[in-house]
């Protein structure tokens, strides 16, 4: 019973503790700090992810990336065609001079 009364008293004391509370005040030079923060927010950002915010630059970089990729694909497929042409020329040469040994058989007749 005594404990209950003590607790009730404590609760009331806590609830009444903010009666007559004084308003908290900002530290000196609040306006100067506010101005600095505003200027900082308005200045261009060079942060880690600032490139993501610059959409124009990102799109330009993406376009360059695609152009490089396309150039690489075109170049590689062109190079494969050249290889096959070169191979077929070599085959013709080989066929012309080496694949039909009977042509020169008459030389062995002597």
């Amino acid at each position: 019973m005594k404990n209950e009364n003590n607790i009730e008293t404590k609760i009331n004391q806590a609830l009444n503790s903010i009666e007559g509370i004084e308003s908290a005040e900002v530290k000196p030079y609040f306006y100067t700090r506010l101005q600095a923060k505003m200027e900082n927010q308005m200045a261009p950002s060079y942060g880690k992810f600032s490139i993501l915010a610059n959409l124009k630059l990102s799109l330009a970089m993406l376009a360059v990336f695609f152009v490089f990729n396309l150039t690489s694909i075109v170049f590689l497929s062109g190079s494969q065609n050249t290889d096959s042409t070169a191979t077929s020329a070599l085959d013709e040469f080989s066929e012309e001079y080496f694949s039909n040994p009977n042509v020169y058989d008459y030389l062995n007749d002597y």
């Binding site: 404990n3 607790i7 004391q13 903010i18 509370i21 005040e25 900002v26 609040f30 923060k37």
Partner: protein, 193 residues
Amino acid sequence: MSEDQLILALKEGSESAFRDLVETHQNRVYNTCLGLLQNESDAEETAQDVFIEVHRSIGAFRGDSKLSTWLYRIATTKSLELIRKNKRQKRFAFLQSLAGSDEKSDSLKQAHFVHPGIEMEQKENAEALFQAIAQLPETQKVAFTLHKIEGLAYQQISEIMETSVSSVESLMFRSKKNLQKTLKSYYEKNFRD
């Protein structure tokens, strides 16, 4: 300068009008943020954000309410946003600690706050009360803080919260009941004898 003239000057981008607004309202904005956030550096940052928001959106202010009402509304909204963000971070830190991360977070510890405007002999009681206020639901916390810490009338609180006076009365009644319940369990644990 009347309030209408001040608003007009602010809309025209007058720096002296903005300075005037900040210097007139900085303490009430800071005191509101401090009452809700219970952290001096968070309250300072949020108070700055309130004035930055005012500077940014004064053009959209129609003047349907008083400038001070609008400032209180931004201050409570921004403070509640920060409270939610801090809670999310605490939950994440808690999950990290469960996952066995080595990184210990100080944010898990409940910092004990005493408002600087409390009388010296009331500090111990006020500390328990502020811990209980921190546990109130958002709307009750806002109503209680604006009335008891900022000293606003129910009518003005109803304008800030965009609700009726009877709703504010109800919020105040429920907040007091909740505070009594929280304080009872706190004192039963800490002062048994």
